[in-house]
Amino acid sequence: MSPLVLIALALITYVSRAVAVVLLPRPSARFETILSRIPAPIFASLATATLLGDGGALASGPTLAASAGALLLSPARSLLLCLIGGAVGYAAGALLS
């Protein structure tokens, strides 16, 4: 891969990041309401995507246990508690597998 291709890739990536942030006007109230609903579903989807590999293969046992630990503590709505739940789950999963 040449340096020019790398620069093109960097430009594509930066423009994709900047186009909405820089060029989009402040959204209308209706659009803003819809946008405010997006983050939680996206994060839930990203979590799911990281747990499923090619062909729907599940992640390792400790990773699944870590996710279960975080999910269990998610009603507390604290990132720290989710991380603690994940760490405990991972340790338990590693011990059992």
Binding site: M1, P3, V5, L6, A8, L9, I12, T13, Y14, S16, R17, A18, V19, A20, V21, V22, L24, R26, P27, F31, E32, I34, L35, R37, I38, P39, A40, P41, I42, F43, A44, S45, L46, A47, T48, A49, T50, L52, D54, G55, G56, A59, S60, P62, T63, A66, S67, A70, L71, S74, P75, A76, R77, S78, L79, C82, L83, G86, G89, Y90
Partner: protein, 217 residues
């Protein structure tokens, strides 16, 4: 804010080292380092290594970059409504837009007083972005010089779903958000199983699809 991003930074550094070690054989040291400096996108950079390993030419590389980066449009639009600064500052902040930094920024905005949402969101995007950027670069250099962090790859890999679950919990400020989050997770799982080629796009598509209908409760 930097402290809150440290667990994610540690995981990013581990994956940066794996990227540095994997990319070195295809790109050489200068281009591998330049790719992390200029592109700063783990998903895209790992995809590039895989494509180069399969002998891909320039066009597939550029198309892959376009497709993988589509999600930034949605993340950027969701952040735009919270930003209050001018276009130059927003252009600088945009460089640090990634899945994780988006999550930290949204969570900080949700936790802030109504009149401080913009400042909290922008400050968090900048600081968490810088933290993860430095971690990605350090990890890449470690991988390039042959330092292996592969021993903790499993632990680092487990951190991402845990982090995203925590960020989803923080972002779900209403009961309807929780319902939409569960629906999006199920939709993503269905896409991953039935249309595996679209797996990388599924999170953003599912996030948008479930956000459109109905009202908020």
């Amino acid at each position: 804010m930097v402290v809150r991003a440290l667990p994610a930074a540690a995981a990013v550094a581990v994956f940066g080292s794996l990227y540095g070690a994997a990319a070195r054989g295809f790109l050489g040291v200068p281009l591998t380092l330049a790719s992390s400096l200029l592109v700063y996108s783990g998903a895209l950079q790992f995809a590039l290594v895989a494509l180069l390993g399969a002998g891909a030419t320039t066009l597939p590389l550029l198309l892959t970059a376009g497709v993988l980066n589509l999600r930034h449009l949605v993340l950027g639009a969701a952040l735009r409504s919270r930003f209050e600064s001018g276009p130059l500052r927003r252009a600088l902040l945009a460089f640090f837009l990634a899945d994780e930094t988006f999550g930290f920024a949204i969570a900080a905005g949700n936790a802030a007083e109504p009149r401080a949402v913009g400042a909290a969101t922008e400050r968090t995007l900048l600081y968490s972005g810088l933290t993860l950027y430095v971690a990605w670069l350090v990890g890449t250099v470690v991988g390039l010089v042959g330092g292996g962090l592969a021993a903790v790859e499993g632990l680092a890999g487990a951190l991402f779903p845990v982090l995203f679950i925590g960020l989803a919990a923080l972002a779900a400020t209403r009961r309807s958000h929780v319902v939409r989050a569960v629906a999006a997770a199920l939709l993503t799982a269905a896409v991953a199983l039935l249309l595996p080629d679209l797996r990388m796009l599924a999170p953003v598509v599912a996030g948008v699809v479930v956000a459109l209908p109905g009202g908020d409760r």
